[in-house]
């Protein structure tokens, strides 16, 4: 006996009503904006031990000329310098880029919900442009397009490369924070806008007194997610000659005669220190995200 076909199950669906069409997992999946943080936070806390073990056990076939022990000694000698002059500079760059990116991104995000269509379209375009450009390309554009010094009145103010790098990194951060702000504002139900409108609040008052206080907390986890991504991206600055941890590691290895045995300990150390810095941030972000989960 032949069963009666069920459209969408046993036969092809022929409907233009979305609810009647078969579920398409690929279409339905919303891209996770916090993918990086979630990936990082889900790592077990003993991950650095594994990295460290790999570094230690790497060269089982040591060269006669330069033993692995000597390479570790070299790393030990350079370590304080790499941390104090290298990594702390990465942290400084990430701080400054985050501050500039957040300030610009907040303005751009608010402009994206402006009632003026020109402002809104311009903000949307700017956001999409910088959000989807490769970070390294942005860095090079800023490096090459910006003057190395500016003259205000009679005073010449030099702009060092690292400052340009800060500005270059703050551009993609700006665009992504803009999306965070827009998304958070639009996550507040429109009924809240209507309720405040009916109470004679102006649009500005509604935004600043009703809407933003409700969604400010919701912006914190994605904002921290972008901080972690930004910190991980600061070694890009080494390509511009900024003296951060990767540049200094290379210079240190050169001064130790560039033995290939040095590569894994030195870059492994950089990996470890980035992990040590970003992992707690990621764990904290996920914890905050759970705590601030929307309940209306």
């Amino acid at each position: 006996m032949r069963l009666k076909p069920i459209p969408g199950v046993s036969t092809e669906a022929s409907s233009d009503l979305p609810v009647l069409l078969p579920y398409d997992a690929k279409k339905g999946a919303v891209p996770d904006s916090m993918l990086f943080t979630r990936w990082l936070a889900n790592m077990p806390p003993w991950t650095p031990l594994v990295i460290f073990a790999v570094i230690l056990l790497w060269p089982l076939t040591a060269h006669a000329a330069y033993s692995y022990g000597e390479a570790m000694d070299a790393l030990w000698r350079w370590m304080p310098f790499l941390v104090l002059h290298g990594f702390s500079f990465n942290v400084l760059i990430s701080f400054l880029a985050m501050v500039i990116g957040t300030a610009l991104g907040a303005v751009l995000g608010l402009a994206q919900i402006s009632l003026n269509p020109t402002t809104r379209r311009f903000a949307w375009f700017t956001t999409q442009l910088f959000r989807n450009s490769p970070w390294l390309v942005l860095l090079f554009i800023v490096l090459l397009a910006f003057p190395f010094e500016i003259q205000i009145g009679g005073v010449i103010i030099p702009i060092p490369d690292w400052m340009k790098a800060v500005f270059g990194l703050s551009l993609p951060i700006m665009a992504n924070i803009s999306e965070v702000v827009r998304g958070a504002i639009q996550s507040v139900p429109t009924a809240q806008w209507e309720a405040s409108e009916a109470l004679a609040f102006s649009r500005q008052q509604t935004l600043w007194q009703i809407i933003l206080p409700q969604c400010a907390k919701r912006m914190i986890p994605p904002w921290m997610n972008w901080y972690a991504i930004l910190t991980m991206a600061t070694p890009l600055c080494s390509l511009l000659g900024v003296e951060e941890i990767i540049t200094l590691s290379r210079q240190a290895m050169e001064s130790e005669d560039n033995h290939p045995e040095l590569l894994v300990p030195f870059f492994g150390f950089a990996l470890l220190i980035f992990f040590a810095y970003c992992y707690p941030i990621a764990r904290w972000t996920i914890a905050l995200e759970r705590r601030f989960a929307v309940k209306l």
Partner: protein, 248 residues
């Protein structure tokens, strides 16, 4: 045009409203005198909510006119602030501000919009909370209150602007039968104090008890209207009769 109390406080004349190609209101006219209680009933999708949202300009209209105390709501340069000080509105889903306590919800508009002093506003807000019978709940957040309590806070919040007219948009539709009563008692108190009220409701018993005039809308037009005494007992139009036979 200056408004005097012998003229309708709200005058709706031949209002048309469409969402895209869908015409929701097809020529509605209602006059409301000061102190009157008007109930608008009718099947879902008949344009009841749209109509009262037009009165405080949450929706705009395509044709016709609406005046509130002589102020033209349909005017191109509408002073929305002035209009909304006169017209309070309560929603089906309460729409309280979830990040503020009950007391702060009530205080917010007079403080921020009318820029009144904090001590007077707080005294007023506490009095209003008492009025809606919620003493002791001043410091609770909306999430900690039941639906009926939230709706009463929403009424107090709207009253804090001291409106001349109150619009109630199916305010009991999301509540269970027992909490419906506590909200209706609050509205009845208001009506008996002489507040002009326009209610969209499905509570026929309540409408019958409280309303001075009942309007029945269907598919964007007013099919029939009259005082409750005659409206419920001898409706003339077959559509009204059919609707009433299903609920009563």
């Amino acid at each position: 045009m200056t408004w005097t109390t012998d003229q309708p406080i709200i005058s709706i004349k031949d209002v048309h409203k469409s969402f895209g190609s869908l015409e929701v209101l097809k020529g509605i006219s209602i006059d409301v005198m000061k102190g009157e209680v008007i109930c608008i009933i009718g099947p879902s999708g008949s344009g009841k909510s749209t109509l009262i949202r037009c009165i405080n300009a949450l929706n705009d209209i395509q044709a016709g006119s609406i005046t509130v105390e002589g102020q033209e709501v349909h005017a191109a340069k509408l002073d929305k602030l002035a209009l909304r000080k006169k017209v309070g509105m309560v929603f089906q889903q309460y729409n309280l501000f979830p990040h503020k306590t009950a007391l702060e919800n009530v205080m917010m508009a007079p403080l921020k919009v009318l820029k009144e002093g904090k001590t007077e506003v707080e005294a007023l807000a506490r009095a209003l909370i008492r009025k809606v019978r919620l003493e002791g709940k001043e410091d609770s957040y909306p999430g900690e209150l039941s639906g009926g309590q939230q709706q009463r806070v929403a009424i107090a919040r709207s009253l804090a602007m001291r409106p001349d007219v109150m619009l109630f948009d199916e305010v009991t539709a999301a509540l269970d039968p027992e909490t419906v009563k506590e909200v209706l008692v609050t509205i009845k108190d208001l009506a008996s104090e002489g507040m002009t009220c326009i209610l969209v409701t499905h509570e026929m018993g309540f409408a019958r008890e409280i309303a001075d005039h009942i309007y029945f809308t269907d598919r964007g037009v007013i099919v029939e209207h009259g005082p409750p005494a005659t409206f419920f007992t001898d409706a003339k139009d077959p559509r009204t009769q059919e609707f009433l036979s299903q609920i009563l």
